[in-house]
């Protein structure tokens, strides 16, 4: 297929079809690990990497895999990728790996990945599939960091605490004490209810923005229609004279 629009893939992944915000896929890791921004970033990157590799390999082998066995095939490809990512993180980002724990192997069960394999990569050439995997993963990553940052900010008044588990000891100065040392903390934001409330609010904000854009488009369309009608009236008026 040559009619692939990269712009559409990018907008889909980041906004209109965002894995977390719109498809509501991968909620388990999304809600569970986002109690601070760094955890969100770590899991987001792992998911992003898995999505890119799995989309690429599924697309690469799409002509040789029979329809009947495609789902087990996807699962095995994804599982192999996740194992690789898991081992890599354990080797090079050991502390982050410890913090995220079970949620890295659980990327296998993240529906966003198998959904992209089935809905996109199995029908498209390799390059668009890789771009799609990257954009879907990036949209998910942004959401994870946003939600994690929100919860961390409200819950403990910091941003990028524990950055050292990801970027090494040099990054321990990255932690921002946004509200000063006296901030009493708001435990609810860090506990699971905070994840649900936070995600709900982010989705609500996205819907509000979409509504506004839609209304604006409608008004513009009406305005151009009106202008065209006026123009044709004038033309008609001239003709009848």
């Amino acid at each position: 297929m040559s009619d692939v629009s990269y712009k559409k893939i990018i907008v889909d992944g980041l906004w209109t079809n965002n894995a977390g915000l719109v498809q509501l896929l991968g909620l388990c890791p999304l809600l569970a690990v986002t109690n601070n921004a760094v955890n969100g970033l770590g899991l987001g990157l792992a998911t992003l990497l898995t999505l890119v590799i799995s989309n690429g390999s599924v697309s690469f082998s799409r002509h040789w895999v029979k329809r009947e066995i495609r789902i087990p095939f996807y699962v095995m490809v994804i599982a192999a990728n996740v194992t690789v990512v898991d081992l890599l993180m354990n080797a090079y980002l050991h502390e982050l790996h410890n913090v995220l724990g079970i949620f890295i192997p659980l990327i296998v069960t993240n529906c966003a990945i198998i959904a992209r394999a089935e809905a996109f990569a199995s029908k498209q050439p390799i390059l668009p599939s890789i771009v799609d995997g990257f954009m879907m993963g990036f949209g998910f990553l942004v959401l994870l960091v946003l939600l994690g940052g929100m919860r961390e900010l409200i819950g403990s008044g910091t941003l990028f605490a524990n950055a050292s588990v990801m970027f090494g000891e040099g990054a321990s100065g990255m932690t921002l004490q946004v509200f000063g040392d006296d901030y009493p903390g708001f435990l609810l934001a860090i506990l699971p209810p905070g994840a649900f409330l936070g995600l709900g609010l982010i989705i609500a904000v996205k819907n509000i923005i979409d509504d506004r854009l839609e209304q604006k488009k409608k008004r513009e369309r009406q305005a151009t229609k009106q202008a065209e009608e006026d123009a044709s009236n004038v033309v008609g008026g001239v003709a009848s004279e």
Binding site: P184, G185, F186, L187, L188, A189, L191, L197
Partner: protein, 349 residues
């Protein structure tokens, strides 16, 4: 059978919401006065601040939602929410705790769900639960009654404490509540009767201020039932549910479980039974459903108080049953007149 037909059956004298809400406030007033007498200005400061915050937040929410301000502000529901919430907080708590709590009550629990009449959870209890989970320190600093500390904290000083202008020696003015003392005592293995004697509580003779306040709520609640504002079903079944659960465990082992009278008269049991569990929006509405709803709240209060980790359990028990109320209503629909007969005849044929 004779029916009383002095008034036409279809004349509907349903009072409006604001009337009901004002009646609730009248019912609360005795409890407020008693609480003030024992715990000082902190109680009234809480109430005034909570009302101001709640009404302002309500106005903001209505404005954002493009709803008319006047009819909704005039229904007094925000004021009642504010009062119930304020009465569950420790007096002299910092002003921002009230603001955070009321944000969750009015904005999250009420207006995000569609405003009055649409909230599945009791707003005041949502606020309380959010705060007790998030700010356990601030929420557990109950000042002791002046009859224990021997010091009446004046209005000016109370305001200073609430607005953080003065450094407060919390250890000097706070005192563990009976629920806390009994809980920690029982956990450390002290027999219940010893704790009661040591702390000089006697919840039959009303020797603790909390017990007297509970009695005041009870009287206010009875007034509401007499006025027809609330039905007797939820409060009675809730108190019975709590008392029976407590009685069973107390009879099994009176050393490691507190007595029923202690459970009924401590914490927010009375306030909860008459003023919180009876919230007409979030509670069960069918007659049989109300009995199930109330009794389950009583049972959960006992369970959470005894085996949970939080000081009081009314908020959690009410929220759990708020969740179950639609299902209870679904299964306890009263039979339509004549339906039972129809079924019986069908069975016979």
């Amino acid at each position: 059978m004779q029916f009383d037909t002095r008034t036409a059956g279809l004349v509907n004298d349903a009072p409006d919401i604001s009337h009901l809400m004002k009646q609730v406030l009248v019912g609360l007033s005795l409890g407020i006065v008693t609480l003030f007498m024992f715990y000082g200005w902190g109680v009234l400061i809480n109430l005034v601040l909570a009302i101001v915050f709640a009404v302002s937040l309500e106005a903001i929410a209505l404005k954002v939602r493009n709803r008319p301000l006047k009819p909704f502000l005039n229904d007094w529901s925000a004021v009642v929410t504010a009062c119930l919430f304020a009465l569950t907080l420790p007096p002299l708590v910092s002003w921002w705790v009230l603001l955070v709590g009321l944000f969750f009550a009015i904005i999250v629990a009420k207006h995000l769900y569609g405003g009055i009449g649409y909230n599945p959870f009791n707003p005041a209890m949502v606020a309380y639960a959010v705060l007790i989970v998030s700010l356990p320190l601030q929420m557990s600093q109950w000042p002791g009654s002046f009859i224990f500390t021997g010091e009446w904290i004046g209005l000016g000083e109370s305001l200073n404490i609430v607005f953080g202008a003065a450094d407060t020696d919390w250890d000097a003015i706070t005192r563990a509540t009976p629920l806390d003392i009994v809980r920690t005592g029982l956990i450390s293995g002290q027999p219940y009767s010893d704790i009661i004697i040591e702390e000089k509580f006697d919840f039959i003779l009303f020797s603790h201020p909390m017990a007297v306040v509970s009695l005041a709520y009870l009287l206010g609640g009875v007034y509401l039932i007499k006025q027809g504002v609330i039905s007797w079903r939820i409060p009675v079944s809730m108190l019975l549910g709590l008392a029976v659960s407590a009685l069973v465990m107390w009879l099994i082992d009176s050393d490691s479980y507190a007595s029923p009278s202690f459970h009924l008269l401590s914490g927010a049991a009375m306030l909860g039974a008459f003023f919180i569990a009876t919230d007409p929006v979030s509670a069960s509405t069918t007659p049989k459903g109300q009995l199930i709803y109330g009794a389950s709240i009583g049972f959960f209060i006992y369970v959470i108080r005894t085996w949970g980790v939080y000081p009081d359990a009314v908020a959690f028990a009410v929220l759990i049953m708020n969740m179950a109320a639609p299902m209870i209503d679904y299964y306890t629909q009263p039979k339509v007149f004549g339906q039972a007969n129809a079924r019986r005849q069908r069975g016979r044929s």
